[in-house]
């Protein structure tokens, strides 16, 4: 426990941690400020929008009333409805936009129900004559495309970089050696160090995802509304926050593990970036294996409660087809990343236990 406590204190005392926290805080102020300022909803804008909506409705109703329009009288009002918000450049800021964009008018429960519709079973065709059955993929860009999810994914990557720089700096400065002189039990030292890295990353990411929500809240209060942010919405926000915390901890451990293995900051940071970004280049390569090695896709899927897709190449009636299909869901993505973190910790830990420090 003493190692954990000391490491937490050291991580939070680090200049790099303070700088990252400062930059993030400033960034959140900027996000909050620009969101607030870009949703002005001035009275003349709204008046013009109402006028355009009314004109559009009138024109539509005139056309729909014609016998050959094919519109039943009972449906005319619905068909010709025009929302003034369609005619303003700066619509109101709806709180649900931090999780999904362009889903006005539905409750969050309805939105999530519609984006979660998908078949239960994916069945690969058994013969080239059988038409492939393609399972709809729930993509992060369709479901959770809001700023919070993107921000949370970026936080996870930042945690990985901070984990790598923290462990790498310990080697560069020789502090790890000074620690080993005081704690000869290497298992205890490395256990405490990585527990602290994970805990600080998780706590930090929870703090900053919460701050993100807080940063845009004034826009919803004074320049918009909480729209359809019902109980399900807030549960999803909390879910994103907790999944981001878990992801940040795992990513920090992966980054730290790589740096421990290489005893070098650059190797740790580059390793994480290659795994995170490099996978994106493989995502369009056919093969189920791509779903397992794309760190960024899996991170995003876990946070956004989305699927990790891959390109399936099939032959149908003599022609090749390529379809994006579901590889695995968000829980499997989380499990995959937890396995990667455990692997990084075990592999680098074993190396740390057995290698000399000289």
């Amino acid at each position: 426990m003493t190692v954990f406590r000391s490491e937490v204190e050291r991580i939070t005392s680090r200049r790099a941690t303070k700088v990252a926290a400062g930059v993030l805080t400033l960034g959140l102020f900027a996000i909050g400020g620009t969101t607030f300022l870009s949703h002005t909803n001035a009275a003349p804008d709204m008046a013009a929008a109402r006028r355009l909506a009314a004109e559009n409705t009138a024109g539509c109703m005139s056309w729909a009333s014609e016998p050959d329009s094919g519109i039943a009288a009972a449906d005319i009002a619905t068909t010709c409805f025009s929302d003034p918000l369609w005619y303003v450049d700066d619509p109101k800021f709806h709180m649900n936009q931090i999780l999904a964009v362009g889903q006005d008018g539905q409750s969050w429960t309805e939105i999530t129900a519609s984006i979660q519709e998908r078949g239960d079973v994916y069945k690969v065709q058994e013969s080239a004559e059988e038409e492939p059955v393609i399972l709809p993929v729930q993509q992060a860009s369709y479901g959770f495309s809001g700023g919070l999810v993107s921000f949370a994914t970026a936080l996870s990557l930042l945690a990985a970089v901070l984990g790598a720089t923290y462990v790498g700096a310990d080697w560069r400065s020789g502090i790890i050696e000074s620690q080993m002189v005081r704690i000869p039990n290497r298992r205890r030292l490395i256990g405490g160090k990585f527990a602290a890295i994970g805990a600080v990353s998780a706590a930090g990411s929870m703090l900053f995802t919460s701050l993100y929500v807080a940063a845009v809240t004034p826009s919803a209060i004074w320049r918009g509304d909480f729209g359809v942010a019902d109980g399900a919405f807030w549960m999803d926000v909390i879910g994103v926050t907790f999944r981001t915390a878990a992801m940040a901890a795992m990513m920090a451990i992966i980054g730290g593990g790589l740096a421990l293995l290489a005893r070098n900051t650059v190797a740790g940071v580059v390793g994480v970036l290659v795994a995170f970004i490099g996978g994106s280049f493989l995502i369009n390569t056919p093969g189920r294996w791509t779903a397992f090695i794309t760190l960024g896709e899996n991170t995003n899927a876990f946070i956004a409660r989305a699927d990790v897709a891959y390109i399936l190449e099939q032959s149908f009636q003599g022609a090749l087809t390529w379809d994006r299909v579901v590889g695995h869901g968000y829980l499997a993505a989380g499990l995959l990343l937890a396995t990667a973190a455990a692997g990084a910790l075990l592999f680098s830990g074993a190396s740390f236990l057995h290698r000399d420090v000289s």
Binding site: T2, V3, R5, S6, E9, R10, S13, R14, R15, S173, G174, I175, E177, S178, Q179, M180, V181, R182, I183, P184, N185, R188, H354, D356, V357, S358
Partner: protein
């Protein structure tokens, strides 16, 4: 009473990726039995730091046994609370203050934070304790390093090159501090290239060369053994005196600075015999003294087979 440190048959090999083996330590044996100041000496690459790292569990020996405070080094955790060490210079977070760095080490070693003021006072760093370490001179960092080694009030203090980068006043401070620690009943193991410092503070020294211990004992024993049986004769007419001594079958040569003659006493000959030979030829020495080497000269003699700086051409038999 159990020895503070026992090293037996310590061997350390490093293997490169290409399969090449480098032997850093080749059967090192020594024992440190009680309080006092002990010096580890040797040229770069002779094995001093590898030995210290082995004592602290930083490198794993290829063969041999190492015990510290009665425990095998694999059980170092059980006695580490009684050991303080500074290995290859101080290592701190530069952006944090000296005090904060010490607080972090104290927290790591589960040491009361009240001890921090004591160790800061010990190394006279109280005034600068709240400044960032990045603003410290090398000497101040060294003193802070010693302070960190003293946090747990250890019985055994291991200091690797503690005077590195210090000015003369700083060296004197460390010298005084090391002696003070020993006078408090602690065992202090110091490695250093500052042989003049070692000579002044160590009770016993252990000399390394090529991964082996080639000599160990008190400074006086080491210097005496390296010097052999030689005397320094000051006389007016060097040329005549040298010729006279040579005719008498004695090995003699002028010192490098030409101020005296070094005479190797052999067999049953005594300094009085040398004086008699010279007097017989009407030559009278102004002084005849034992030729005392400094530890540095003895060290160079033993580690490189070099001639002591005080005499040209004299070769002293290496101790084994």
């Amino acid at each position: 009473m159990a020895a503070v440190i026992t090293v037996q048959g310590l061997r350390k090999e490093y293997r490169s990726l290409r399969g090449r083996t480098t032997v850093a330590l080749d059967g090192v044996d020594f024992e440190i039995s009680g309080p006092g100041v002990y010096g580890l000496l040797g040229p770069n690459g002779s094995g001093k730091t590898t030995t210290i790292r082995s004592l602290l569990g930083l490198v794993k020996p290829t063969a041999g046994t190492v015990t510290v405070l009665g425990q095998d080094v694999s059980n170092l955790s059980t006695v580490i609370g009684r050991v303080g060490a500074l290995v290859e210079g101080p290592k701190f977070s530069p952006a944090l203050s000296g005090r904060k760095n010490l607080e972090l080490f104290a927290s790591l070693a589960d040491v009361e934070r009240s001890r921090i003021d004591d160790v800061l006072a010990l190394v006279e760093m109280t005034d600068r304790a709240d400044d960032p370490v990045s603003s410290y001179s090398l000497g101040m960092s060294q003193r802070l390093g010693i302070a960190s080694a003293m946090l747990n009030n250890p019985e055994l203090v291991i200091l690797d090159e503690p005077t590195n980068g210090l000015d003369p006043a700083g060296m004197a401070d460390v010298r005084r501090l090391v002696r003070q620690l020993a006078s408090e009943g602690r065992t202090v193991l110091v490695s250093s290239h500052q042989l003049h410092e070692i000579q002044q503070i160590c009770d016993r020294v252990i000399i390394f060369r090529d991964g082996r211990v080639i000599a160990q004992g008190s400074v006086k024993e080491i210097v005496g053994a390296a010097a052999g049986n030689r005397i320094l004769v000051k006389i007016d007419d060097h040329q005549v005196a040298l010729a006279t001594l040579e005719r008498a079958g004695l090995t003699a040569m002028p010192t490098l600075d030409g101020s005296a003659i070094v005479v190797q006493i052999q067999g049953s000959a005594t300094p009085a015999d040398v004086n008699r030979v010279l007097a017989h030829e009407g030559l009278f020495a102004t002084s005849i003294t034992a030729d005392e080497l400094s530890l540095e000269e003895a060290f160079l003699t033993m580690t490189t087979n070099q001639t002591p700086s005080g005499a040209a051409g004299v070769k002293i038999k290496e101790m084994q």
